[in-house]
């Protein structure tokens, strides 16, 4: 069977666990995955990426060996939990059952963090109305794939009027071999709740010489009225991964949501972050960052869908490319006919550090009513030679000047990264820049 004809013949053992409604849904999604044609190359959102790169390899198995650095990250995170720098830690080793640890205060506050299949059983009234609501077979073939095959899903629930000031940190490790993982995350934040969730994707083979590893992720997030949710997605998988992630959030009236997609790793990374502003006064901000070097390929999408009036949104998506890295960014702002009095802004800046890099930017607007104020801007260009000259005049050598300017370019986004993670992300980027 060629990869392009891949079908799921039967759901693997173990995935039929959980309540009946869940296994019914999985079966249904399995069928729609098999029925749906592969996205046509060149179709909207598939103009710059070959859909074939995300077709799972039928012979590949779930990974068994965790990536070598995972143990270190794990102990580091557990340390931070001890020191009360984090509220909870979830470590998912290669799609096997996740280790979940959380502070006592969280349990007392009624916060639920559970493996998704368990939560589907024990917290059905919370899970059933939300799971597959935003990401289902209608979304696309690969979304149906995750819907059918997800393993070690995680469910996070923040009750009404509960403020969790410390971040909840999840690590999803893809192991070392050229295998495939299907992580899924469901976050439900109640009315007037507040939480910060860090979702970190790691692991995978270090290069594509023995075939690419594959990761098909899905994140659904529901933010209740007047809630405040920060969701940070750090994708720093190894260079042999083809990484596909779809994230959809629906936020109710008065809710504030900040999404921070940070794409640093993988061989090919296609990510889709969308927020549906579903109630009056909802506000969404996306601060994205993609940093690519060598032959890395990024294909990022953002969506702000204003489905209710008097909502505001803001996107700032920054891309830095070096060596032969390429990036495509497609951002859509959609304002429905009924959504009066909306304000939306979108900005995409691309910094190309050397010849051979390639950046595509497609900021799209679909405005269906007149009572809006909507703007977007996009730029692509090299480092401003005048800035380098200025720094050189002050005795700074070229390489350092370049690093300083890139750091400055990314500073605004990094400022929003919470606490301990900020230093880790900054040093990841610094190391990459110094290696160039």
């Amino acid at each position: 069977m060629t990869p392009l004809e891949y079908t799921i013949d039967n759901l693997p053992e173990g995935l039929t666990e959980g309540p009946q409604w869940l296994s019914d849904k999985r079966r249904q999604l399995r069928l729609s995955f098999n029925d749906k044609p592969l996205p046509r190359r060149g179709a909207h959102l598939w103009r710059y990426t070959d859909p074939g790169k995300f077709v799972p390899n039928s012979s590949a198995t779930a990974p068994v060996t965790a990536s070598p650095s995972l143990a270190q990250i794990e102990s580091e995170l557990f340390g931070l939990l001890e020191k009360k720098h984090l509220a909870a830690v979830v470590v998912d080793k290669c799609g096997q059952t996740a280790t979940i640890r959380m502070s006592d205060e969280l349990g007392k506050a009624g916060v639920v963090i559970l493996p998704l299949e368990k939560a589907a059983q024990s917290h059905t009234p919370l899970v059933e109305p939300h799971l597959y609501q935003l990401i289902n077979s209608e979304f696309g073939k690969f979304e149906a794939l995750n819907g059918a095959l997800w393993q070690s899903g995680v469910f996070v629930y923040i009750p009404d009027k509960t403020t969790i000031s410390l971040p909840i940190h999840l690590v999803r490790d893809a192991g070392t071999a050229a295998s495939q993982v299907f992580p899924r995350l469901l976050i439900v934040a109640g009315k007037n709740a507040e939480a910060t969730i860090i979702d970190e994707y790691t692991g995978g083979p270090s290069d594509i010489s023995s075939g690419a590893g594959m990761s098909h992720g899905a994140v659904e997030l529901f933010a209740g009225a007047d809630s405040r949710v920060r969701y940070l997605c750090l994708q720093r998988q190894a260079g042999g991964m083809n990484s596909y992630l779809t994230c959809r959030a629906r936020i109710d009236s008065g809710a504030q949501m900040v999404t921070i997609p940070l794409a640093l790793g993988a061989n090919l990374s296609k990510q889709n972050f969308g927020v549906i502003l579903n109630g009056k006064g909802a506000d969404s901000r996306i601060f994205g960052l993609a940093f690519g070097s060598q032959y890395q390929q990024f294909d990022n999408h953002t969506l702000h869908h204003h489905a209710a009036g008097s909502t505001t949104s803001n996107i700032d998506f920054k891309v830095v490319l070096a060596d032969k890295a390429t990036s495509a960014y497609t951002g859509l702002i959609r304002i429905d006919h009924s959504a009066k009095g909306c304000q939306a802004y979108q900005e995409n800046r691309n910094l190309l550090l050397n010849p051979g890099t390639r950046a595509e930017t497609i900021p799209e607007l679909e405005i269906l009513n007149e009572d809006v104020s909507c703007t977007h801007g996009a730029t692509v260009g090299p480092i401003d030679p005048m800035q380098v000259f200025y720094l050189q005049c002050r005795g700074i050598d070229y390489d350092t000047a370049e690093r300083l300017i890139v750091a400055g370019f990314l500073e605004k986004t990094l400022q929003i990264v919470p606490g301990d993670l900020r230093e880790r992300v900054s040093s990841l980027i610094r190391t990459r820049l110094e290696a160039m």
Binding site: E360, T361, P363, L365, E366, V372, T375, H376, G377, G381
Partner: protein
Amino acid sequence: MAQEIDGQKHDLSRLNEDYASKYCFRDPVDYFKGAKGLDHEAVAMISKMKKEPVWMSDLRHEALDIFLSRPMPTWGNTELLKEIDFADIYYFMKSTDSTKGNWDDVPEYIKKTFDRLGIPDAEKNFLGGVSAQYESEVVYHSMKEDLTKQGIIFLDMDSGLKQYPEIVQKYFGSVIPSTDNKFAALNTSVWSGGSFIYVPPGVNVTVPLQAYFRINAENMGQFERTLIIADKGSRVHYIEGCTAPVYSTHSLHSAVVELVAMEGSYIRYTTIQNWARNIYNLVTKRATAHKNATVEWVDGNLGSRLTMKYPCIQLVGEGARGEILSVAFAGQDQHQDAGAKVIHAAPNTTSRITSKSISKDNGRASYRGMAKIHKNAVNSKISVECDALLIGEHARSDTYPTMEIDNDQVSVEHEARVSKVAEEQLFYLQSRGLTEDGARLLIVNGFMEPFTKELPLEYAVELNRLIQLEMEGSIG
């Protein structure tokens, strides 16, 4: 000021009254019509009627195969595109026997049509040549003597092919081959009429060259083909404008316009498109700019039911410059899917795209663009600016720009804004005694100004009036 605006309004209401007689008339005309529908037989008939050389006939048949084999576009307004019935269209019509060289020889009923469009007046004033297209073929053609003396060729495309077959063969389809898209293939297979212009090296055409187009029969497609070649160091400005009577069923207009700007030359191509509200206007326009050449598209889209038009400039020579200035007005039931494309394929090339759109009532205006910089096009610059104004709660505006940048020594900027007429601006003008209508009109005219000021005076006046007409009763 307020009085002046109200005076204009008064003037406008009269404009509205004679709109029907001015733009919606139809004269009884004896036509030669081919059969409806399109096949190799029909194409052979067109070619035979025109007594064309074999290579052109072959090109038509080849293009027809391409047209038939290509699917309809899967993007854009596919709902509207689906409604086109290619079998129900006349692909060739001829209303007079030969191309006329003198205004007096033009048949009376056709003259009447053009009189109402004001061609003779325009000519009297300062226009160089008139190439008036009535139905599928150019029936009237005049050329001022000084143009001929300078060696400028300004003919309809059919005559161009007869008189200068070697130039036509060299450039025809060189910028837009039949394989480019389905509608370019359609045009190549059934083209008829259009303009053919050649400007010799170093010649500056000081007056704009101008042609009027009209469609005047139901279910008739108009497939004109224009080719403009500006040789080294020459300058030319061509104006294309059109109005059409209102029809009861859909009509298709699918033109192809090719511009070749040789080293150091300058071409400006101005269009004011005001097709009737039932016409599909699916046009392919592209220019190739060689070393240090400049090409400017000035493109106004007011009419039609659906327009899909993305003027393109390929900057293939070092130092070439391109500019695209476009305005779209989408009123009731209209979809203006317009945009611009620039392809930078040489170093030190610059381009600027300015797009303005107004969506009113349930009209939809889309900007669809492409800005591409190839690997070798170092030190290139692109600046794109899109402004959209929404009037009425059912109006819709879309922006789909695409920027593909394959090298790092460039500067690319894109900006877009979508908003309604600002309350503060209205309030400011009203507090100075303008009526709300007057204030809104003033703001809309101001919004369009960067475009109107690029037009020759009589066009600017016409455009302002058309917009005023469109804007009437926009409150409530």
